[in-house]
């Protein structure tokens, strides 16, 4: 579709289905659907081209547990698509102020403007930090370009509700005696590039997604070799026997072999579950573990402490 900018008269091509356009000559952003001036509109260029992004995907998949040795060598790229997905960026602020009390909860949120996303974006995925640019027609050449399918207002409400849960919990703790409100502001529309790859290994075909700005692999499928599946299954079974045996021996010390056996057996099941999961399915999926603020601290001692505190609370 050909479009003439209302601001400078510049002429440029707009992909089918695009509702928000930014003039490549003067930067004037307009919503063609409604006609009113919309928010600032940026693009992230695909810093990782198809080849580098695909290499990243292969690298990540070939380090997964149980992948056949020749996996990355025998992998065939069938198809690749660069998706440009729309994200709205919001600043949301929940604020309550009273005598000596501040309840504050603020956040920046980048939310995909989709009802159903065509791309498996991990929950809480933080979109990375490098290099947004103004619209240039060459950026989206050969790419699939998506227009928002969910209105900005609807998304703004979602952004507010995401903050509301945390804000409300803090308000409860402060006694709720003060007036509170949540404000929000839309800071712009960003189009963000993500690579989709369809690839095959022997008779299997898979798909995978790579963030085209920082090369992070978001999602990918791979297979676990028959040897590794059998091995994992046997190891899992072995673990259960070993757990039972360890329990039995330690039970014998207190001359209570049966109880010791049970005590050793139960955790061995817990430990063997990940092994059984690896052996249960031939085709497995990798999805990115988000290094969020809270997830970073995951450690054995912390997990133990949390469970103990929880048990303390329910008061056995």
């Amino acid at each position: 579709m050909n479009y003439t900018c209302k601001n400078c008269g510049g002429n440029f091509n707009v992909p089918e289905g695009v509702t928000v356009v930014t003039c490549p000559y003067c930067g004037f952003t307009v919503n063609i659907g409604i006609g009113r001036l919309d928010v600032e509109h940026y693009f992230y260029p695909a810093i990782y081209d198809a080849q580098r992004a695909y290499e990243r995907l292969k690298y990540i998949l070939s380090r997964q547990f149980g992948v056949p040795k020749d996996f990355s060598l025998q992998l065939n790229l069938v198809n690749r698509v660069l998706h440009y997905i729309p994200l709205y960026v919001f600043y949301v602020e929940g604020k309550a102020h009273g005598s000596g009390i501040d309840v504050l909860e603020v956040d920046y949120l980048a939310l995909p403007a989709f009802k159903i996303s065509p791309i498996p974006i991990p929950q809480e995925y933080m979109f990375p930090v490098r290099g947004k640019v103004y619209f240039k027609p060459q950026i989206i050449r050969d790419a699939v370009f998506y227009s928002p399918t969910i209105s900005r207002d609807e998304l703004e409400n979602i952004a507010k509700s995401k903050l509301y849960l945390r804000f409300s919990r803090e308000l409860d703790l402060s006694g709720r005696s003060i007036e509170a409100k949540i404000d929000s502001r839309c800071d712009g529309l960003v189009h963000y590039p993500i690579w989709e790859f369809k690839y095959s290994y022997r008779d299997y075909s898979f798909n995978g997604f790579v963030d085209a700005v920082n090369g992070e692999v978001l999602y990918g499928q791979y297979i676990v070799s028959t040897f590794h599946r059998t091995f994992s299954f046997s190891l899992g079974i072995g673990l259960i026997f070993a757990g039972g045996f360890v329990g039995l021996i330690s039970g014998l010390i207190f001359s209570m072999p049966i109880l010791g056996f049970i005590g050793g057996l139960i955790p061995s099941f817990a430990g063997a579950i990940p092994l059984f999961m690896k052996s249960a399915y031939k085709v497995q999926t990798y999805s990115l573990n988000v290094f969020g603020k809270s997830k970073r601290d995951e450690s054995l001692s912390k997990e133990l402490l949390d469970v103990m505190k929880f048990i303390g609370k329910i008061g056995i």
Binding site: T29, Y91, R130, Y134, E170, G243, A270, I316
Partner: protein, 326 residues
């Protein structure tokens, strides 16, 4: 920032055309090499000088030759990429004051004659608090890369000298990307006050078993200008895969490292699963032999399950994360 790209950006020295994006903080003229800063005059920006790319690489190679795990595979490690960025941060000193109420669960051992009994008792606690926190705020929206949290905490810990950007000269040799701050100082202050309250609440939550009231006020004592911190990462390959190591640019301190999982790590994790079984079995059987409170044996069982589950997950994991805790 204006969204007008019709204005051509030109070098202030030679008038050559500059390639400018909304991200541009400094554009180095490709004709004469003059740095052109795109900074509003009201903005004060400080910068922490970085070591060179070669020094980061040298530091990584030293680690490869010395690290217990990496030196075994040193001949199979290849460098894929070394990249450096200047990342904008604000640092705030914030006074947090208030009080809290909550419940604490205690176990009391009572002895009546020969029999020993343990009893749980809930006790109400309340306390006032006042504390000064130094809170780092990343000057970017919705953005958190691998180990930027560690970068900020290492900055607080090591406190390197920062210089005004106007005094900074050698960025041409560094070949690093300078990232612009997207967050103004007012919004950054709000985020910092929010974070300060959250940090305090989580500190206090760990003191009590149930927090019923938490009231606090936050006040900014001191705000820093934007500080650009140098951040580097090295991507290396081993076998068919790649791993990432992140560094602080001012002192080559390693922030976080991804490393391959070797067979002997998996053996350790296997032993870890069995140690969970052992903990559980001991806990469970001690119930009858020592006549202790049944809760301890159940706790032992649960603790054993968590330990086993934790190591079971590691047993099939694809990468290890190593970091230096501050």
């Amino acid at each position: 920032m204006s969204s007008n790209v019709a204005i051509e950006f030109k070098c202030k020295n030679c008038g050559g055309k500059l390639d400018v994006t909304p991200e541009t903080l400094v554009a180095i003229c490709s004709y004469c090499g003059t740095p052109n800063w795109f900074v509003e005059s009201s903005e004060e920006i400080m910068i922490v000088p970085s070591v060179s790319r070669d020094e980061i690489l040298k530091s990584f190679l030293t680690r490869v030759s010395e690290d217990f795990d990496l030196k075994r595979i040193a001949d199979k490690i290849q460098i894929v990429e070394v990249a450096g960025f200047y990342i904008p941060f604000y640092f705030f000193s914030i006074k947090v004051e208030g009080f809290y109420e909550g419940w604490k669960t205690e176990r009391v051992v009572e002895s009546r004659g020969r029999s020993v009994q343990t009893r749980t008792r809930r006790r109400k606690v309340s306390e006032r608090f006042s504390s000064i926190l130094k809170v780092p705020i990343l000057g970017r929206r919705s953005a958190e890369d691998f180990s930027l949290n560690e970068l900020a905490s290492h900055y607080k810990y090591s406190n390197p000298k920062a210089v005004p950007i106007s005094d900074f000269k050698n960025f041409r040799d560094l070949k690093m990307t300078f990232l612009r701050s997207e967050i103004g100082v007012d919004e950054a202050s709000m985020i910092a006050r929010d974070d300060a309250g959250d940090i305090m609440r989580s500190k206090i939550s760990s003191k009590v078993d149930e927090l019923t009231k938490f009231v606090c006020s936050t006040k900014i004592l001191e705000k820093s200008p934007i500080i650009l911190l140098p951040y580097w990462y090295v991507i290396y390959s081993y076998g068919d895969s790649i791993y990432r190591v992140a560094y602080a640019g001012w002192d080559k301190h390693m922030l976080l490292a991804q490393e391959p999982v070797m067979i002997y790590h998996r053996l350790q994790y296997f032993a870890g699963v069995l140690s969970g079984c052992l903990i559980s079995a001991f806990g469970f059987t001690s119930l009858f032999s020592w006549g202790v409170d049944p809760i301890f044996s159940i706790l032992g069982l649960i603790a054993g399950c968590i330990v086993s589950w934790f190591f079971g997950k590691k047993l099939v994991s694809d990468v290890r994360i190593e970091g230096v805790k501050l």
